[in-house]
Structures are given as C-alpha cells and as structure tokens.
C-alpha cells in the first residue's frame, strides 16, 4: 500500500502538451521540393493509388495514404520526402474551419464519443486507447469515450467496413440521438482501399453512413486524433 501511495505522489505530472510533429524518422505529410520531373513513378508505386500528377506536381489523397514511404523510395528526382509533421483532419461537411485553430479554441465544449471498429487491424483502436493515457489525457479537453451509441454525440469509425460488420455500423448510427457526427479515423475508414476491393469488404465508412470528418494516418497518432476530436467538438457546438 505504501509503495502505491509513493508511486502516486512521487511521480511528476506525465501529461504533455499536444505536439503534432514526431521523431525525425516519422513518416508524416509528404513534401515535394519542386524538382519533380513528372515521371509518375510515385503514383505507380503507391499501393493504394492515392497519388495523381496534377500539372507537374504530385497531388496526394491523404484520406487513402498509408504513410508507407513507397513513393519516396520510388521518386526518381529525389524530390519527394516525408516531413515529421502529422497530416491533420479534413472536415468534409461543415464550412471549412481551420483545424489548427480548434486546438487553441476555448474549452467551453464537450464531446461524447462512441468507438466502432468496422474492420480495422486494431492499430487505430490501440492509438485511440492511448489518447486516454496520462501523457495525452484526452479528458482535459472535455472529450470522453462512452459505452453506448445512445450516449454519444459522435461515432468514431476505424477500419474498412466489412460485410460482417456493415449491419452493426448502420444500427449503431441509427441508435444515436441528433445532432450526431461521424468521424472516419485512419486510412481504412477514410479511404477504404488499404486492402483493395474484396468479397468481404464493403468500402470506406462514407459508403455506409454520412461522414463529417476524416483523419488521415495509418494509424493516425494519438495527437492527430485529439486535434480531430477538438475540431469535432467545435463542429458539434455549431450544430446545437
């Protein structure tokens, strides 16, 4: 018992400020230094067909991006590289609010979230669990995970929607009270092409329920999820 009290009281506060950049090696948003030769190798190497050449520059669909680095490897002109910055959430339905503003916005809000694994590899789910750990401490932003869709303002969907879970996703959405939001969290839920198209996959979350916010990443880091959740809390306030 003494040891426990000692551990509780002697420890420093572990909670840190949210930082949207990571270690040097982290594969974050893609940047092109302008030396692009428009060879198209990056688009060909992309396992999820998430790159298009527009004019002479690659355009990346971050909703599909796995941040795997195959395009950087393939770039003939060595123009493409990963930054160590997270790719932030994309708001699909509301007026184009600046997501970064959401982080600093006032804290007079709350958001109750129901998680739904629609067919994920569990990496997104683990990262979602990590948002509640002492380092990120999601609760300080007035955001909490709840046990039932009936208590939830937002459904946070991870994974491609599988045939075996399509009905569960629909029913969970229908069980939620209005106003409600849906967040597609990670490349599978947002882009839906991580594994290609198979007999067992319906597609991305937006193919089954209306999606308001998409969070890129494979998986998104906990900090990227928190930024997205704060933005969602602001959106909900607007809709009330």
């Amino acid at each position: 018992m003494l040891k426990m009290l000692e551990a509780i009281f002697s420890g420093k506060i572990a909670t840190e400020n949210i930082d949207v950049s990571g270690h040097k090696r982290m594969r974050g948003t893609l940047q092109c230094n302008g030396k692009c030769s428009a060879c198209g190798e990056c688009a060909a190497a992309c396992p999820v067909q998430g790159i298009k050449l527009v004019g002479d520059m690659p355009q990346i669909d971050y909703k599909k991006c796995l941040f795997c680095g195959k395009c950087v490897e393939a770039c003939a002109a060595k123009a493409l590289s990963h930054s160590n910055k997270e790719c932030l959430a994309e708001i699909l339905t509301a007026s184009q609010a600046e997501v970064s503003e959401a982080v600093t916005a006032s804290l007079g809000r709350s958001l109750h979230v129901r998680h739904l694994d629609a067919g994920s590899c569990n990496a997104c789910d683990f990262e979602m669990g990590a948002t509640s750990n002492p380092i990120y401490d999601l609760h300080r932003y007035g955001i909490a995970f709840v046990a039932s869709p009936r208590h939830a303002d937002m459904l946070m969907v991870t994974g491609v929607v599988t045939r075996n879970l399509e009905q569960a996703l629909r029913m969970t959405y229908e069980a939620m009270p209005e106003p409600r939001l849906v967040m597609a969290c990670g490349a599978c839920a947002a882009g839906g092409v991580t594994y290609g198209s198979t007999y067992a996959i319906v597609g991305k979350a937006a193919d089954v329920v209306p999606v308001d916010i998409a969070v890129p990443g494979c998986p998104p880091r906990p900090s990227a999820m928190i930024v997205a959740l704060c933005a969602a809390a602001d959106m909900l306030k607007e809709r009330m």
Binding site: L66, A130, P134, N164
Partner: protein, 500 residues
C-alpha cells in the same frame, strides 16, 4: 507427405505421433488452374528436426470433397475444419460442429471465396443461418454481448449460458473483421503484398511481416545480412515489450485497479514513442522488408533505447511490486480462468497461453529462427494455468526481452556491416514455403506459394491467436461472469489477426 483424402485422418494420426508433434496449421488450396483439384495441407511442429512437417491431401478435380474429419482425433483441428468448410466447401465427415465460422449471415450458402473461379471482388449477397451454441433448461438464461462492446476493443459476439452468476458455456462468434486478406494477396507480387501484410494486425505487425519475409526468403538463394537480423530481432523484442508492458496494465483494467492501468499505459506510450524513433511508425511498420531491413539503427538511437528501457524497467518493477502487495487483487486473479495442461496440449495452444499452463513451447527456442540460437534468454513457464500464471509469464518475458534487447544493442555496436538488405533475385515458384516468428501472443506462421509468374498463388496466415481463442471458451467455464473481462484480457488475443 502426400496422401489420398480418405487417408488424411490416418496419416494425421501418425504425423502427430500421439500429440508429440502438435498440429500447427491446417488450410486448403485451389490448384485447379494448374490442372489439379483442391488440396488440404496440415502442418505439424517437429521440435526434433526444428521444422514443420507438411502433410498434403489431394482431391482430384471434380471429385467429392468429403473426407473423414480430424477434429475427433485432434481437437485442435476444430476451427481449421470449419474454415475449410466455409472457404473451399470441404466436408469433414463426423465433425461435431460444422456451423459457419468466417462467413456470417449476409453471405449465401455454397459461396466459397477462396476457390479460384470466384473473383476477388465478388459481391454476392444471400442469407445463411448462424446459430449460437447455448445450453437450455430450467433456470438457465443467456447473456448476449457484442459485437460492438462498451470499451475501445475489437468486435466479437459472445453468448454466455448462465446458471445464476456462473458461466456454464460460452460461444464466441468472431471473424467480424474478416477482410478477405488471403484472397486479396493472390495475384500480387511479394513487394505489392508487403503493405497489406503489415496491416493484417496492428499489435503483431512485426511478427506478421517477419514470418512472411522468411517464407519469401526461403524461396531465394540469397542470404539475409547479419546486421539485418540484429535489427529484425530488436524490432520483434520491442514489439513484445510494448505489448506485454501495456497488457500487464490492461489486465488490471479487468478488475478496475486504476494506478496500475495508468502506470502500464504510460510505459506503453514511452515504448511506442521509441518505436517511432526506430522505424518512423509507432507500430514499427516499414522497417522489415523481404531480404533485410529498410533502415539502420544508429548509435544515437541505441543510446536512447538504452535510456528509455532503463526507466521502463524501474517503473515496471514498481508496478509489479504494487500488484503483488494487493491481497484483494491476488484474490481475483488466483484460480480464475484455468486452462489445464492437458487442454493446452489438446488445443495445440501457443505463446503466453500455453506457457502459463506449463507447456514449454516457444518458437524462438524450438525453431531457433533468425539469430535466437546465439542469444541468451530463458523460456518462462508457470504451472497454474490461471490469470495469475498468465500475468507472471508476461512479467518474466518482459525481464527476458529487456535482457535480449541489451544483448542486441551491444552486438549492433560491435557490428560494422553496412549492408542492410540483399537482392533476393529470382524466387522459386510452385514450391510451398513457410516462415515462423514469435509474436507477443505466440508463434505466427505464414505459408506461401508463388505461381509460374512469381505472383502469390496462395498465402495462408496463422496468427498466434488462432489456436488460443478456443481455449478462452474453456477457461471461463464455472467462473462468474464479472470475471470474463479479466480472463479475456489475461489472454489478450487479437481479433484482426485471426479474422484476416
């Protein structure tokens, strides 16, 4: 060994040698495009030869798909045979429970997606029955739970048959996250397949990738550089560390023991940040490639790994100390969720689940893959088979993994090689190949065969959770239902891994 379908059962009996060589995996293959028929493969662990014995039964084209089932002989075959029935339409005669396993209600009867004539994106809808197995009688009642749970966990439906608080029977309906990965891999080159292999499961990313890469490398004449093996082994042990440390805390969530949950979550976070430092990804994705590794681990990173692990070791020791101090915690975990040694043998359990029931099996020792033979570590076992034993095995394995990482760091420092990967050249085709690695949950096996063009013809993924899931339904019998989350967490099995 190649046999006729009617002899499969007898041959399997000989191969298993009275249980000395447990069934490692069982799966089908469609060889009709090469002029054959369908086939069933059985793999058996052979610890003496440090190999897997392969038994194959060939069903000639257009012949009956019936054969005498193995389940009544080898209980470990029960789920494999249900899967064979779903995916290929094999009919194991005498199987005690041939309900669907992988394909749920929205699929039509008679739809067997792994047959070659079915296109990969076939969208065929129908309705089939999926009946849960329950017990009935006066005073008994059922408790349905899931597939959408109250916490942040993966989807599965559990049906408890209750006699008051006591669980009489548990039936688990899984495979909700079935994405058809094995079919999606067919026709892809090894390089194209890699991003998908890394994404079968988050928590076993390294183990899945390493097993797959070894299966590929066996089809090549080239040899993976030693330094690449050092880095791969480091990654595999780092994966074990962040899983085991996080799970130790998470098991305590099953009894609401908050200080430990927090401490475990904090340590897991530090370890995952370390993963990002090494591989650029918090799940170590993008590091292991066929032929070696994609990036080096430099001195500065080795130093940081050392520093962080020192801190983790200290806090983890405190955590363990606090756990064993709490009499009411011990009271909850001791004699809860027992799997007896015989059951573990019969179900061919692997990993923490098996070792906590006194079965000394670990592919790092038994198969000696990679460079494990030259590393010094102990195999941790516990005789109890209960939740306490599974926690103790994890605590012991954290200690051994820390020991391994330290050895690897000093080896990496002494090793001056610059080569990190080798060109695998032309891969041999039409030859079955397998790879094994020890994930945090037990050994993970990948089977691979390439077609004439060097593209994947059949890939079978047997994750560590597959043989251990049926054991969970045995472990809970007789315990009270509030203990289920605790017992479930003590196994900490993946859903994504087995569902594929």
């Amino acid at each position: 060994m190649l046999v006729k379908p009617e002899n499969l059962r007898g041959a399997a009996n000989i191969c298993s040698d009275g249980g000395k060589r447990p069934l490692a995996a069982m799966f089908g293959a469609d060889e009709t495009l090469r002029g054959g028929g369908l086939a069933i493969y059985c793999l058996f662990y052979n610890a003496e030869k440090r190999d897997l014995d392969v038994l194959k039964a060939e069903f000639p084209a257009d012949s009956s798909l019936n054969y005498p089932c193995l389940t009544t002989l080898l209980p470990a075959a029960a789920w494999y045979e249900r899967e064979l029935h779903d995916m290929f339409g094999f009919i194991p005669e005498g199987h005690p429970d041939l309900r669907p396993l992988v394909l749920h209600e929205s699929f039509p009867e008679g739809f067997h997606p792994l047959r070659k004539q079915i296109p990969v994106n076939c969208k065929c809808h129908g309705h089939r029955e999926y009946e849960m197995m329950t017990s009935g009688g006066e005073g008994l009642f059922e408790v349905p739970v899931g597939p959408i749970h109250a916490g942040i966990i993966e989807p599965g439906h559990f049906r408890f048959s209750q006699a008051g608080e006591a669980m009489l029977q548990l039936d688990a309906k899984l495979f909700f996250t079935h994405r058809g990965i094995e079919k999606a891999l067919e026709g892809k080159t090894v390089t194209e397949a890699l991003p998908i292999i890394e994404r079968i499961c988050g928590a076993c990313s390294v183990a899945n990738t390493l097993s797959f890469c070894q299966a590929v490398e066996k089809l090549s004449a080239s040899k993976v550089p030693y330094r690449a093996w050092l880095i791969r082994t480091l990654a595999l042990e780092m994966e074990r560390l962040y899983n085991h440390v996080g799970d130790t805390g998470n098991i305590c969530a099953g009894v609401g023991f908050s200080p430990i949950i927090s401490m475990g979550a904090r340590l897991k976070e530090y370890l995952q940040q370390l993963n990002e430092l090494v591989a650029g990804n918090r799940f170590l994705r993008g590091l292991i490639i066929p032929g070696g590794v994609s990036m080096d681990v430099e001195e500065k990173q080795l130093e940081e790994i050392s520093d962080v692990l020192k801190e983790v070791e200290k806090v983890y020791a405190d955590m363990v100390h606090i756990m064993w101090e709490q009499a009411n915690f011990i009271n909850r975990i001791r004699t809860t969720g027992i799997v007896r040694e015989n059951t573990a043998f019969d179900l061919a359990m692997v990993g923490v689940g098996a070792r906590a029931s006194g079965v000394a099996r670990d592919s790092r020792k038994d198969m000696g893959f990679g460079i494990y033979d030259e590393l010094d570590f102990e195999l941790v076992t516990e005789p109890g088979g209960d939740v306490e034993a599974r926690i103790k095995v994890r605590i012991g394995e954290v200690r051994e993994s820390l020991k391994l990482v330290r050895q690897l760091i000093s080896k990496l420092r002494r090793n001056a090689e610059t080569e990190l990967s080798v060109d695998l050249g032309e891969l041999r085709t039409l030859e079955g190949s397998w790879g094994i690695s020890e994930s945090p949950r037990g050994d993970n096996i990948h089977w691979l065969m390439l077609d004439e063009a060097g593209r994947i013809d059949r890939s079978f993924i047997r994750s560590a959770s597959y043989p251990n899931w049926p054991a969970l339904t045995v472990a809970v019998q007789g315990d009270i239902i509030p203990d289920f989350p605790l017992i479930n967490k003590s196994f900490e099995l993946c859903y994504a891994c087995i569902d594929r």
